[in-house]
């Protein structure tokens, strides 16, 4: 059976909450029933069929096409299946996601993978602020799963994240890994200023040293961190399109911090490959 494909007819005038359309909820539903689902669009309700033309039938392989920059909450709380988006997406993509996989061939808005619990998100373009962060009112940010961003990401990547892995192949804004509780962030481009500010635990791995680190990080020297071998082995196995990791680690400049909040976190600036 062909994947269920929703092609946007024309961009809506107001923002649309699309969290109702997740594979685990749609599987088993007829196309007509899916077309009749009512979505919140600004202060009114609209039917899926009014916004999208539907084709295919396999809801476990949901495909969304068009400029979805005004569509928020795509894949939110999904637990299984695959969502592939060809185009831009709005905010809170994969928020509170528990499992499954989301692939975006375009840019994503703010709060990508906010409070995510599991699964995988891959964005081929850039992402906004607060990737993997916690929404206002949440005790913490993502606590599981993996986010891979091929382009740049905005400010506060992994803000208050508790577990999981975020990989940004491009640059990030300031305060990357700020207030982290745990988890791992890898940045291949330039991280903005004050990476790791206020982090309690967790690991921020950078290829290049940021211009300004928080003053409350102490230098531990050039060290071989065997953990990097396991992490990179996992990442290169799961994401073959990560050639940046080849020949990297375990040698790095290690900074521990944020000493203002316990100092159990770490910033690692990777050095060139070193045997064993």
């Amino acid at each position: 059976m062909k994947p269920l494909t929703l092609t946007l007819k024309e961009p809506p005038s107001q923002r649309v909450e699309l969290s109702a359309l997740i594979p685990d909820r749609l599987s088993g539903m007829r196309r007509s029933a899916i077309a009749a689902i009512r979505l919140q669009c600004g202060n009114r309700k609209v039917k899926v069929g009014d916004l999208f033309s539907l084709s295919g039938g396999d809801a476990s392989q949901l495909q969304l096409r068009g400029d979805l920059g005004k569509f928020d909450g795509i894949g939110a709380a999904m637990a299984a299946g695959v969502i592939t988006v060809r185009g831009r997406v709005g905010h809170q993509l994969g928020a509170a996601m528990r499992g499954g996989r989301i692939m975006v061939h375009g840019d994503a808005g703010d709060w990508l993978g906010a409070n995510m619990h599991g699964g995988r998100i891959e964005v081929r373009g850039c992402a906004g602020n607060q990737v993997g962060g916690g929404l206002p009112g949440d005790a913490h940010g993502m606590d599981g799963g993996t986010i891979l961003i091929a382009g740049n990401a905005g400010m506060r990547v992994g803000d208050r994240m508790r577990r999981g892995i975020v990989v940004v192949k491009g640059d990030t804004g300031d305060y990357c890994g700020a207030r982290m509780l745990a988890g791992t962030i890898v940045v291949f481009g330039n991280a903005g200023d004050f990476a790791g500010a206020g982090m309690r635990r967790g690991t921020v791995i950078l290829i290049r040293k940021p211009e300004r680190l928080p003053a409350s990080f102490n230098y531990c020297g050039i060290l071989k961190m065997q953990f990097l071998r396991i992490l990179f082995h996992h990442l290169t196995r799961e994401y073959p399109n990560l050639p940046e990791l080849r020949g990297r680690g375990p040698l790095c400049d290690r900074y521990c911090g944020d000493l203002a909040t316990g100092g159990k976190g770490e910033l690692m600036i990777l050095r060139a490959s070193y045997p064993y």
Partner: protein, 299 residues
């Protein structure tokens, strides 16, 4: 039955249920991985006095270890999961963690698990860090050489201990020449180890003793120096040494394969090179539920 002129007794090896785990030890080089593995499997020949039986299973290429470094697979056997957990903690803590650059991972992924890093992390005195990668939790314990990496737990499985065969030789020199080659060939069998020093037992035991404080004692029927002393000696006049190879395995197939390989290599020496007979140790079949009949294995 005879193979290459070597007589094969129509008897069986009697083996017992055990619990086992597999650990993967990695280090900077094979040299240091072996140092950790040899230390961990040292003093682990017999459950009678060592608390567990353990042996090196095989070398692992760096492409197939969790951290991409040279690795050694080790099997550890004990009579219960509790005893296994106790021995694993002591041995990994004292032998692997203390070996410079060494790390320890689970090599068995079963639902039944015993702690590894879960308990050893406390050595970190609060500075330890845990990392969850691909659903597996690792502990990073800061130590003087850098960081000791250890997986949270390791799997436990039902296993079999005590597969064996006896080699009747002209002398210890003749017996060891054959046994060394046999043990080397048996190392290629996955899931089985020979826990005794060099894989060979020089002083096999029997159950019981004339002394009340001893549970086991020398197997006098197979001692060449007692041939003229005990009336029911199992040795002919020309046998000057009996060596035993004990095999512990994760399943019956692994032990069967290891025994077949070992006996065939031993028999290839033949009587002209001092190997006369092959037998096996048992307790009348009443103690261990697993019986490995030599004639069936070699059929």
């Amino acid at each position: 039955m005879k193979i290459n002129g070597v007589e094969i007794d129509n008897t069986f090896a009697e083996a017992f249920p055990m619990k086992a785990t597999r650990l993967i030890i990695t280090a900077m080089s094979y040299k240091w991985a072996y140092r950790a593995a040899n230390s961990l499997t040292g003093f682990a020949s017999s459950i009678i006095g060592c608390g567990c039986e353990a042996g090196i299973e095989y070398e692992i290429n760096e492409r197939h270890t969790p951290d991409g470094r040279p690795g050694i697979s080790v099997l550890i056997f004990a009579t219960s999961t509790r005893q296994l957990a106790e021995q694993v903690l002591k041995r990994v803590g004292q032998s692997v963690m203390t070996t410079a650059t060494a790390a320890c991972y689970s090599g068995l992924h079963t639902a039944d698990r015993i702690p590894l890093g879960k308990s050893l992390r406390f050595f970190g005195d609060g500075y330890q860090i845990s990392k969850l990668v691909d659903g597996t939790r690792y502990w990073r314990v800061p130590v003087m050489h850098g960081e000791f990496m250890c997986e949270e737990s390791t799997g436990v499985t039902d296993a079999i201990g005590g597969g064996n065969f006896l080699v009747f030789a002209k002398s210890s020199r003749h017996g060891l020449a054959a046994c060394e080659k046999a043990v080397k060939a048996m190392k290629k069998v996955r899931g089985a180890v020979t826990p005794f020093p060099g894989g060979v037992v020089g002083s096999g035991s029997k159950v019981g003793s004339k002394y009340k404080f001893m549970n086991t004692s020398t197997n006098h029927l197979y001692c060449p120096t007692l041939k003229g002393r005990v009336p029911d000696s199992a040795l002919s006049e020309k046998v000057g040494s009996v060596l035993e190879i004990v095999i512990d395995g994760l399943d019956k197939d692994a032990i069967t394969e290891a025994m077949r390989t070992g006996i065939e290599v031993t028999c290839s020496f033949g009587p002209r090179r001092g190997i006369y007979r092959i037998s096996a140790g048992h307790y009348g079949g009443k103690l261990g539920p697993h019986h490995f009949h030599l004639h069936k294995i070699l059929k």
